[in-house]
């Protein structure tokens, strides 16, 4: 976190909420993409992005810098908004993102990316949401290893452990893809 961002947060905490606009400018694109990659639907992503920033605005006064990064706090709000959104669908199993709903016709998705997303669905839908999150942030959002570790609140070692759990889930014919993905995670 740079000094400018830290000052914006401190001012917000003191009640100068107009400074929240600065934080919005820093994070709006990133949060929108983070949510879009979990929903694959423009209107849904916009709605959940709005919810994320309104929740953050209401709670920024209580945010504790000593407990962690503002970015990880904001991403967690976004992640919870997505989970809450899918919970309203009343699924019996927890849904973290749209990858958990592969093949469902009743879930709105933008048609323009449908074909290209289906190409990697076979890989990604088999991972846990956390593993998927790591892959997407690293490969699609081009985040640094440090950023991802801060957002998911885990060390590099625990990331490796998380990924090892996915090995048994993959089918043999996808083992080569697995090797690639293991290595992607290891480098985080």
């Amino acid at each position: 976190m740079d000094n400018k961002e830290q000052k914006l947060i401190e001012n917000c905490k003191k009640g100068d909420l107009e400074k929240f606009g600065g934080l919005y400018e820093i994070y709006i694109d990133k949060i929108y993409k983070f949510i879009y990659y979990k929903t694959h639907h423009k209107e849904t992503a916009e709605d959940l992005t709005s919810q994320t920033f309104f929740k953050a605005l209401e709670k920024v006064k209580d945010f504790d810098l000593a407990k962690g990064q503002f970015s990880s706090w904001l991403y967690r709000i976004a992640k919870n908004c997505v989970m809450d959104y899918y919970r309203t669908k009343k699924e019996t199993i927890d849904i973290s993102d749209v990858w958990d709903l592969a093949g469902r016709e009743d879930i709105k998705r933008d048609s323009e990316f449908k074909e290209q997303l289906e190409k990697v669905e076979k890989y990604l839908e088999q991972f846990t949401s956390e593993q998927r999150e790591i892959i997407v942030m690293r490969v699609w959002q081009d985040m640094t290893h440090k950023e991802i570790a801060e957002i998911i609140g885990k060390s590099e070692d625990s990331c490796k452990m998380i990924f090892s759990r996915a090995i048994n889930k993959l089918r043999k014919e996808e083992i080569f893809a697995l090797i690639v993905l293991i290595q992607l995670i290891k480098i985080i």
């Binding site: 909420l17 929240f20 606009g21 919005y24 709006i28 694109d29 929108y32 879009y36 990659y37 423009k42 916009e46 709005s50 920033f53 309104f54 929740k55 605005l57 209401e58 709670k59 209580d62 407990k67 962690g68 706090w73 967690r76 709000i77 669908k89 009343k90 699924e91 019996t92 199993i93 849904i95 990858w99 958990d100 093949g103 469902r104 016709e105 323009e112 990316f113 290209q116 997303l117 190409k119 990697v120 839908e125 088999q126 991972f127 949401s129 892959i135 490969v139 699609w140 998911i152 609140g153 885990k154 889930k169 080569f176 893809a177 090797i179 690639v180 290595q183 992607l184 290891k186 480098i187």
Partner: protein, 481 residues
């Protein structure tokens, strides 16, 4: 993503395992495939600006002084504010007057509501499989299961599904209903159909709340459709009044309620703090919390029965307790009683006032479907041939499946009791749905298949002849249609 970026990722991989260099071209292809699948998404600049503007307006609103302890939602302005504050004060502070939801009925001529079914061309028929499935999504908390009443997969299938991300929708078996109850003699040739008065004048609804705090007649020419207001304090609520539908709902105002992610710095903390079965209070305690809320807010539930927990989400055979998602909010329903009889929605759930209780905070987090119980009544022809009713029941009743492909499993149904069911009818003149309450036979499910599980608890058959005729020979649909 450029070749340079792909190479960077590959170099990172080789740093971990240099032996993978021999598979360089294959690795490059797979990495490229994943990267190429990245949607080239960018935020809509118009949305971005509008959201910024809304946030700034909200910030401005947050800074305003609050005189009464209540703050209006930022969406409400001007004269409406006066009404909202009055209503708000009335609901939360008027101890002397009770909010009455008392049942009243006005008799009209026979068949005064016209046909009981909505013409198909309006696309408003409430009986399609899609509508039934959709209606299951109503309610508070709990993990209602989609699918409209079919039997879910075997425990083995569920277990596999539960352990595999991406596997959500199990295959369904289709029920074959077998009646095991007694023969019933139906003697009533006419049944009394009720229609709820749902389009109330705003001033009417305020008067019926017994406020009497201010003369609101000055607003008589103004049309108010909905009103929302916010109780901006710790554990505050938002209240929404829909005058068109004649309903009131109360929800937790989430910014002033503790959120789990406020105290958790990482996902492990969130996981560790998830609600467990052991956290759920006893039924007695849940009812005590709900009753206390109702009493504190001066709401009279004279027309409603004893509360029942909506606990279908607990029934997930084949899934261990640890795997079941325990909702943060448990829902109680105070069933509406008309002449001592329950009223069922078409999905088999009792109609009534729902109260959500936040398990973490042990507080009421919402109250829904509060509505004035004012009805008009009219007589209609009744079905007296029990064999015809039975045939209808054995096809699944009003929320039947219209397809019969795939495997079936036997489900036994017992002797019915006469209660009521809800039918929604589209009112062309007012362009809105009207709720009709129709006498119906409720067949209890007495035996479910050992294989798989079956969650509906009853089969509903309307006694009004016209509804039977309309629904007993539907055009079969193909699955997925």
């Amino acid at each position: 993503m450029s070749n340079k970026q792909i190479k960077n990722i590959l170099e990172d991989i080789y740093k971990i395992d240099d032996s993978l260099r021999v598979r360089g071209p294959q690795l490059e292809k797979i990495v490229a495939e994943i990267l190429e699948a990245k949607p080239l998404v960018s935020i809509d600049e118009k949305f971005k600006k509008e959201l910024y503007k809304e946030l700034m307006e909200r910030i401005s609103g947050l800074k305003q002084e609050r005189v009464t302890g209540f703050k209006l939602s930022y969406a409400l302005v001007g004269a409406l504010a006066v009404i909202v504050i009055v209503v708000g004060v009335g609901i939360f502070h008027t101890k002397s007057s009770q909010v009455e939801f008392k049942f009243t009925k006005t008799s009209l001529n026979d068949e005064a509501f016209g046909p009981l079914v909505t013409a198909q061309e309006n696309g408003q028929s409430a009986n399609s499989a899609d509508d039934v499935a959709e209606s299951r999504d109503s309610g508070v908390g709990g993990g209602a299961k989609g699918g409209g009443g079919g039997m879910a997969a075997t425990p083995d299938q569920i277990a596999v599904c539960a352990g595999q991300t991406g596997c959500v929708v199990p295959p369904y078996y289709f029920p074959e209903y077998i009646y095991t109850g007694e023969d019933i003699k139906l003697e009533q040739t006419r049944v009394e159909v009720l229609r709820r008065k749902n389009k109330m004048e705003p001033l009417g609804i305020l008067e019926s709340f017994g406020l009497g705090l201010v003369d609101l007649s000055v607003f008589k020419d103004a049309k108010i459709q909905t009103v929302n207001f916010v109780q901006d304090k710790e554990y505050g609520y938002t209240v929404s009044i829909n005058f068109e539908e004649g309903t009131i709902s109360i929800d937790a105002y989430f910014p002033r309620w503790p959120q789990l992610y406020d105290k958790c710095a990482d996902d492990r903390c969130i996981e560790e703090n998830r609600i467990k079965f052991s956290d759920i209070p006893s039924d007695e305690e849940l009812i005590r919390i709900a009753n206390q809320f109702i009493a504190e807010h001066g709401i009279s539930l004279k027309s409603y029965g004893q509360p029942e927990e909506e606990n279908d989400w607990r029934n997930q055979p084949g899934i261990s307790e640890a795997q079941i998602y325990v909702p943060d909010s448990i829902s109680l329903i105070y069933p509406l009683l008309i002449d001592g009889k329950s009223v069922y929605e078409q999905n088999g759930i009792k109609l009534g006032i729902r109260v959500g209780i936040n398990i973490r905070e042990k507080r009421v987090s919402g109250m829904y479907n509060l509505s004035l119980q004012e009805y008009e009544s009219s007589m209609y022809d009744a079905e007296t041939d029990f064999s015809r009713i039975l045939k209808f029941a054995e096809k699944g009743g009003i929320s039947r499946y219209y397809w019969n492909e795939g495997q079936t499993r036997k489900v036994e149904i017992g002797t019915p009791v006469q209660e009521y069911m809800v039918v929604w009818k589209y009112d062309r003149d007012n362009q809105m749905n009207k709720m009709l309450i129709i006498p119906a036979l409720i067949f209890p499910i007495t035996k479910t298949p050992a294989e798989g599980y079956y969650y509906p608890k009853n089969i509903i058959v309307p006694l009004a002849k016209e509804l039977l005729e309309e629904n007993e020979n539907p055009v079969p649909l193909l699955r997925g249609q």
